[in-house]
Symmetry: C2
Subunit: 324 residues, 2 copies
């Protein structure tokens, strides 16, 4: 039997849940399951949880396993196959995840960070299919980018994942933990939008203030977007500001890399309908020396399954690489 008839297991390891799916060689999801990772119980218990989940998925798929991939919340060390993440996964530092899985299932095991895995999934069977150069931009609590070139993850120096969420957009902007003032994340992430709202001069005359009953801690980006839909002046201003800054970020990506498409995802971009017209209009202003408006800007379509698909795709790429 060819290894192409075996299944690929994609594991999406987050801070709260772990999800595993059995995926065919051509990208069909056969079955999947999810369970709490309970990271506080430590990496050993976590590995048992993951192994059990994978076993269940394999039994249900009733086909041999060809390879296994993990997309994990970072930071991680791909070289040694370890998770180094005491933040999202408390106590998980220097946790070898590739070794035990390889030993247990006796197949090649790939490890990618979750952002790259999601991008790989979208490029494989999602929004960026058949595209040579796909940038994925995630705007939520943080802002991140991944670049998929010819179906492969673009890696920076030393194999590291670049941090395109921190390109400079406006040096007069807020300070960020990355060392910059006015990087993209400091201007358009969920917390950044909430902070702009809290600092606004006209906050008290906004529905936002009534809504949070004066308790500014309650303000978050989704509240801003929801109230903007009702026509509130401040929230509409904040939405416009967010759209302008996102557009400038996309313009820089387009100028520097001229991808075929930019696939977006993340909590803030769930309100893309509110942002879209203005983003596209700003990009159109920059369509002079470069065909900026021809770069497709479109939502991710795999939702929370992107990471699982991408992890399976990473497994597939690793396997094909070993068969060369």
């Amino acid at each position: 039997m060819s290894f192409r008839e075996g299944i690929l297991i994609g594991i999406d390891l987050g801070g709260t849940n772990v999800r595993a799916g059995a995926i065919s060689w051509d990208g069909q999801l056969l079955n999947w399951q999810e369970t709490p990772i309970e990271a506080m119980r430590g990496p050993e218990a976590g590995l048992l949880t993951i192994t059990q989940l994978v076993e269940d998925v394999i039994v249900k798929a009733d086909r041999p396993v060809a390879a296994l991939g993990v997309g994990s919340t970072g930071p991680l060390d791909r070289e040694c196959g370890c998770i180094q993440n005491p933040y999202t996964l408390p106590g998980w530092e220097d946790v070898d995840i590739v070794g035990p899985l390889r030993e247990r299932f006796e197949v090649p095991v790939a490890l990618e960070n979750d952002a790259d895995a999601a991008a790989l999934g979208e490029a494989w069977v999602g929004s960026g299919q058949d595209v040579k150069r796909m940038f994925m931009v995630t705007i939520g609590t943080g802002v991140g980018t991944s670049l998929i070139l010819d179906g492969q993850i673009y890696r920076g120096r030393g194999g590291e994942h670049p941090e395109g969420g921190h390109i400079i957009i406006d040096p007069s902007g807020p300070e960020c933990y990355c060392g910059a003032h006015g990087c993209l994340e400091s201007l358009v992430s969920g917390p950044a939008i909430a902070q702009f709202a809290k600092n606004a001069d006209n906050l008290k005359s906004s529905v936002l203030y009534d809504e949070c009953q004066g308790n500014l801690k309650k303000i978050d980006a989704s509240m801003v977007f929801n109230i903007a839909r009702g026509g509130d002046a401040l929230c509409k201003q904040l939405v416009e500001k967010t759209a302008d800054y996102i557009a400038l970020g996309l313009v820089s990506i387009i100028m520097l890399a001229l991808p075929d498409c930019i696939v977006f995802t993340g909590g803030v971009l769930r309100s893309f309908d509110l942002l879209e017209a203005r983003i596209r209009s700003v990009i159109a202003q920059h369509d002079v020396i470069i065909p900026a408006t021809k770069v497709k800007i479109q939502p991710a379509i795999l939702g929370q399954q992107a990471g699982m698909f991408g992890a399976a795709r990473a497994a597939q790429l690793l396997l094909m690489d070993t068969k060369k």
Copy 2:
């Protein structure tokens, strides 16, 4: 005889001169010549000039030609092998340059824009040798970028050359023909530096004003740099401002692509000694979530021969591609 024993001809076609060199398979320059292109005499006369120059170089090298490459001032259309440049080469629009050269010399002919050719040259035998990801940044009359990945030119959507000189740096900056306010070129190109000088409040108290005898048209970037060396307050401010903006541009490149090295060239960067300390210090401030200071920032070393070497390398890559 293997085609590897033949020579590669690299042609660097500029608005003023054309240069051709015979280069061995391993990147040794055997001989080269240069002559005015006299673009005003039209493309037919120009093509004759180029052909004659190449013949002279071949005769002198006394070895068979394996392939030929042209690095030309753009815009150009690589697909059809045409130059579309009525700006720098008056009258040269839709000029097929690949066809006639291929017919005359009966070898594969590659065509690249001059920026990509220069970057390819530096990556082959210059400053970016043995580097997986090399960004070249040119700062002169204009600002441009080229990315070489695994020894090949990175191309944007539709094979087009990205315009990384126009990433957004400061939206409060000057308007640029690219549609942006405060793109990198609008802030750090030679003309941009001169314009900042002309607009400065304290211009009249600067040595700059004496030097140009009140004729502001005489002010250019190299004058600013020269006078800064003497300690003039305004010129020193302008140098610092230029360094800060260049650094922010490099930070964005590092965040988005995390290359192994950034090779710089161009007229403004000839004064790198004045800019270097401040550029490195700003980049060091951004060395938090990404190893920004580990990205090598170094000058191009091939000077005016970079384009010729790169054109020869493009010819070599094309030939290897056809032999696959």
